[in-house]
C-alpha cells in the first residue's frame, strides 16, 4: 500500500513541477518527495546552469508558497543572514528614555530603588521589537511555511555553515537575548552548491544529497519544449543533439541547460528551421563562454551537425 502511494506521489511531484515549467527527472522528484516526508533539507550540487535555483522556484510556485532567498558570498555573517538589532531604533529609545527618566524614577528615593525600577526596562531593549529579521529568521516566521533557498552555499565561509546547522536540523534558531525561535511551519529548505569547495560533513549529514548533472537528450528536449514553445520539433532535436556532442569535448566550461534554452531562444529569433554551419558558428558565443572554448569547438561544428542530424534519423 505504502509503496503504491509513494510511487504515485513521486509522479505527482513530477507533474506538479512540470506544470510550473520545470521538467524533473525521477531522482529529483524522489528527492523533493522525500524532503517533504522526512522533513530534511535538500543539498543540490551540480555544474552551473542545470537548474538548481530553478528547482526551488518551481517548488515554491507549485506549492503556492513564498520563496525566501539567501544568496551566499564570502563574508556573509549572522547579521546579514539571521537577524540584526535595530540599532537606530534602540538609540532613539534611549533618547526617549532619557527624557522620561525623571518621570519613571520619580518615586525612587535611593539609588537601589531607582535601579530596581530601571531593571524592568532593561529587557525591553532586547525584545522582538528591536529585532530585524533577515532571510533565515523570516523563513521561520512564515505562518504558512515557505521555500527557503540558500544559494551557492559553497561561496560562504566555513563558519557560516556551522551557523546553519541548527536551522537545518531542528528548524529553529537561538538568539542569545531572546531564546529559541522555532519554525511555525517547517520551511522546505534547498541549498545549492557548485562544489567550489567541499562542504563540511556536519552540513552534508543534515541534508539529502542530490546531484543534478547534465540531462539526458530526451529530458533536455522536453525542457526546451516547455521553456521555448516556439521551436519546431525537428530543430529542437537537432540542437539538443548538437549540444550533447559539444559536451563530449574537453572544454573549460561545458554548455548547460540554461545555455541550451538561451540558444533555442536565439534560434527562434533568427527564424532558423535547421542548423547550418554558418549560423551555428555565428551563435556559438551563446553556448560557450570562453574564447578558447569557441576556438576548440568551431572546427568540429560541421561534423557535429552531421552527427546530430544522423542521430535524428535513427532516434
Amino acid at each position: 500500500m505504502a509503496d503504491q502511494k509513494a510511487s504515485t506521489s513521486i509522479e505527482a511531484v513530477q507533474s506538479g513541477l512540470a506544470a510550473q515549467g520545470y521538467i524533473a527527472s525521477r531522482q529529483i522528484a524522489t528527492a523533493v518527495y522525500l524532503s517533504q516526508q522526512i522533513e530534511k533539507p535538500i543539498l543540490v550540487e551540480g555544474p552551473a546552469g542545470v537548474g538548481k535555483t530553478e528547482l526551488a522556484k518551481a517548488i515554491a510556485a507549485w506549492r503556492g508558497m513564498k520563496m525566501i532567498r539567501l544568496q551566499c558570498y564570502e563574508g556573509l555573517d549572522e547579521a546579514k543572514a539571521l537577524y540584526e538589532w535595530k540599532y537606530a531604533k534602540q538609540l532613539l529609545y534611549t533618547q526617549i528614555l532619557k527624557d522620561k527618566l525623571g518621570e519613571v524614577l520619580g518615586g525612587a528615593q535611593t539609588l537601589d530603588a531607582a535601579l530596581d525600577q530601571l531593571h524592568d526596562f532593561g529587557d525591553v531593549f532586547f525584545s522582538k521589537e528591536f529585532v530585524e529579521p533577515r532571510p533565515l529568521l523570516q523563513a521561520l516566521e512564515q505562518p504558512g511555511g515557505c521555500v527557503l533557498l540558500i544559494d551557492e552555499i559553497d561561496k560562504s565561509d566555513a563558519e557560516f555553515e556551522s551557523l546553519l546547522l541548527e536551522i537545518l536540523s531542528d528548524f529553529q534558531v537561538t538568539i542569545p537575548e531572546l531564546g529559541t525561535v522555532s519554525a511555525i511551519t517547517p520551511p522546505t529548505v534547498i541549498l545549492t552548491s557548485n562544489s567550489e569547495r567541499d562542504l563540511g560533513d556536519a552540513l552534508k549529514r543534515r541534508c539529502l544529497h542530490l546531484h543534478i548533472g547534465f540531462p539526458e537528450q530526451r529530458l533536455e528536449e522536453r525542457i526546451v519544449e516547455s521553456r521555448v514553445p516556439g521551436i519546431s520539433q525537428a530543430l529542437r532535436r537537432q540542437m539538443v543533439g548538437f549540444i550533447h556532442e559539444i559536451r563530449s569535448l574537453d572544454l573549460k566550461k561545458l554548455p548547460s541547460v540554461s545555455e541550451t534554452i538561451d540558444w533555442a531562444r536565439v534560434l527562434v529569433l533568427l527564424q532558423a528551421t535547421e542548423l547550418d554551419t554558418e549560423m551555428v558558428k555565428d551563435t556559438l558565443n551563446v553556448l560557450l563562454k570562453y574564447e578558447a572554448d569557441i576556438e576548440a569547438a568551431s572546427p568540429q561544428v560541421t561534423t557535429f551537425i552531421a552527427k546530430a542530424a544522423r542521430s535524428n534519423v535513427f532516434g
Binding site: 503504491q4 510511487s7 513521486i10 525521477r26 518527495y33 516526508q37 567541499d198 539529502l208
Partner: protein, 459 residues
C-alpha cells in the same frame, strides 16, 4: 528487510561511503516512505540519504547493484549444476514440480537436513540456507582475501557439513547412485559458498584492502616503485593534493583579527552620531605562497621529481604562483608544459628535453642565475628537489647562497637518506649551509609533510 538494510549499510561502509548511525536512521525513514517494491526508487532514496558527494554516489550505486544482485548468480549456479547432475530435461521452469517428483521417487530416508535439501534441489531453500549460514559465520566481518578459506569452511560447518559427510559415508555403502548425486550436489554447494564469500569480500572488505594498499604505497620509496603502481601513486598524490587544498585554501580566521580601524569605524557609524555600533577592523594581509621549484630530473631522482611536480601543480587554490624548472646538466623552465599537458605527456616531454643527462648542479645553477633570478621575490619559497650528487663538478654553492638571500625560504628536499649525505659525490653538506630546511623526501608521506610544511609557513 531491516536486517538486509543493516547489511547494506555495512557493505556501503566497505565501499568507502561513510554511513553514520544518524544517516542510517534517515535512510530507514526514507525507505519506510518510499517502500521497497520499486528498486529504482529505493536506489534513489538510499543514494539521496547516504551518499554525500558525487564520488560516493557512484561507489554506493555500484555497491547497491552488487548487493541486490547477490542471490542471482548463486541460484544460477545451483540450478545449472543440479540440472546437469540430475540429468533432468533442460527446461527448468517447472523446477519445483520436477524437484518434488525427484524427491518422491527416491525418498531419502534417515538423511540429515542438508542432504535432504540438496537432494530435493530446492534452490530457494539452499540459497536461504547459505544466506542464514553466512549470517551465522558473520561473513560481513571478512576483511582480507586470505580469509576466504576460513569463512567458506565456517559457512559450510554452520550448514551442517559434518552431518552431510556422515550421510555420504553411509550412502556410499547402501546406495552408490544416490551418493554420487549427493557428492555432485555438495561440490556445487561448495562452489556456491565460495562465490558468496567472494561476493562478501567484494562488498565488505574493499575499503580495508584499499587502506592497506594505500598505507603500503604511502611509505614506499618513490624512486623504486614499480611501473604498475605508478597509476595508483598518481591517484594517491591527487588525494594528497586535495587534502592539502582543503586544509589551506580557505583564509583562516586569523586574518580578521587585528587593530581597530578608527577611520573606517567613525565613517561607518556617522549615522549614529559617531557612537561605534559597528566596528571595522584592520585586516592582516597574508601572502599566498609563491613557489619556485627546481627539480633534478636525472635518472636517480626523476620519479620523485615527477610526483613532486604533479603535487605542486595541483595546488592551484592554495598556491598563488608556481614556476617550475627542471634540470640535469642544464636548466629549463617547465611550468607551461606542466600546465598545458596531462601529467604523463608533460613528464615525457620534460624528460626528452633535459632528462637522462648526468646531473651537473653547478652549470644548472648558473643557468638559473643567468635567466631566472628575477623570478625570486622576498615572498618566494624556493624548493630544490635533488640528491645533490654533482659528479664531482663544481657545485657553485655561491649561487645557491644568492638564491637564498633573495627569497623568503630555501627548502631542499633530498630523496636520499641522511646517512648518504656527504658521501661520494654528494654536495649536500655544502648546500645545506644556505638552506632554511633540508629534509629527506623519499616517500609519498614525506612528500606530503614537506609540502604541507611549506604551505603552512604562509598561514
Amino acid at each position: 528487510m531491516r536486517e538486509n538494510l543493516h547489511r547494506f549499510f555495512r557493505a556501503a561502509r566497505g565501499a568507502g561511503v561513510h554511513v553514520s548511525p544518524a544517516e542510517s536512521i534517515d535512510a530507514m525513514r526514507a525507505v519506510a516512505q518510499v517502500g521497497i517494491s520499486d528498486r529504482a526508487v529505493l536506489r534513489d532514496a538510499l543514494l539521496l540519504t547516504l551518499a554525500k558527494s558525487q564520488d560516493e554516489k557512484l561507489a554506493l550505486g555500484d555497491c547497491f547493484d552488487l548487493f541486490f544482485s547477490q542471490p542471482e548468480p548463486r541460484q544460477d549456479q545451483t540450478e545449472a549444476n543440479s540440472g546437469e547432475n540430475a540429468a533432468q530435461d533442460p527446461d527448468q521452469s517447472p523446477s519445483s514440480g520436477s524437484a518434488s517428483e525427484a524427491g518422491e521417487s527416491q525418498p531419502p530416508e534417515g538423511l540429515g537436513p542438508l542432504a535432504q535439501m540438496l537432494l530435493s534441489q530446492d534452490r530457494n531453500a539452499v540459497a536461504a540456507a547459505i544466506a542464514g549460514a553466512s549470517g551465522a559465520a558473520s561473513l560481513s566481518d571478512i576483511r582480507y582475501s586470505t580469509q576466504r578459506g576460513i569463512f567458506s569452511s565456517r559457512i559450510l560447518d554452520a550448514m551442517g557439513l559434518q552431518r552431510l559427510r556422515d550421510d555420504l559415508d553411509a550412502l556410499t555403502a547402501t546406495n552408490p547412485a544416490l551418493a554420487e548425486r549427493l557428492r555432485a550436489a555438495l561440490d556445487a554447494l561448495r562452489e556456491a559458498v565460495r562465490d558468496t564469500v567472494s561476493q562478501g569480500l567484494a562488498l565488505y572488505a574493499r575499503e580495508e584492502a584499499e587502506n592497506l594498499r594505500n598505507e603500503i604505497l604511502r611509505n614506499a620509496p618513490l624512486a623504486r616503485i614499480e611501473r604498475r603502481q605508478v597509476a595508483e601513486m598518481r591517484v594517491l598524490i591527487r588525494q594528497i593534493a586535495r587534502r592539502l587544498r582543503e586544509r589551506y585554501s580557505k583564509p583562516r580566521k586569523r586574518q580578521r583579527r587585528g587593530h581597530l580601524d578608527v577611520r573606517r569605524t567613525l565613517r561607518r557609524n556617522a549615522a549614529w552620531g559617531g557612537i561605534p555600533f559597528l566596528t571595522a577592523w584592520k585586516r592582516k594581509h597574508r601572502d599566498r605562497p609563491k613557489i619556485v621549484a627546481l627539480c633534478d630530473v636525472s635518472g636517480s631522482v626523476a620519479q620523485v621529481s615527477d610526483f613532486f611536480l604533479l603535487l605542486i601543480h595541483s595546488l592551484h587554490e592554495v598556491v598563488d604562483d608556481v614556476r617550475s624548472f627542471a634540470f640535469s646538466s642544464h636548466m629549463i623552465e617547465v611550468s607551461e608544459i606542466l600546465e598545458k599537458k596531462s601529467p604523463e605527456e608533460a613528464m615525457a616531454e620534460i624528460m626528452s628535453k633535459v632528462g637522462f643527462g648526468s646531473s651537473d648542479y653547478g652549470s644548472s645553477l648558473v643557468d638559473f642565475e643567468k635567466d631566472f633570478m628575477s623570478t625570486l621575490t622576498p615572498r618566494t619559497t624556493v624548493i630544490v628537489l635533488g640528491d645533490a650528487r654533482s659528479n664531482n663538478l663544481d657545485p657553485r654553492a655561491d649561487i645557491l647562497r644568492r638564491i637564498s638571500e633573495r627569497s623568503k625560504r630555501l627548502v631542499w628536499l633530498n630523496p636520499e637518506g641522511r646517512l648518504a649525505w656527504g658521501f661520494g659525490d654528494s654536495e649536500m653538506p655544502r648546500y645545506a649551509t644556505f638552506c632554511t630546511v633540508v629534509r629527506q623526501c623519499a616517500t609519498a608521506q614525506q612528500l606530503e609533510r614537506a609540502v604541507s610544511d611549506i604551505v603552512a609557513t604562509y598561514q
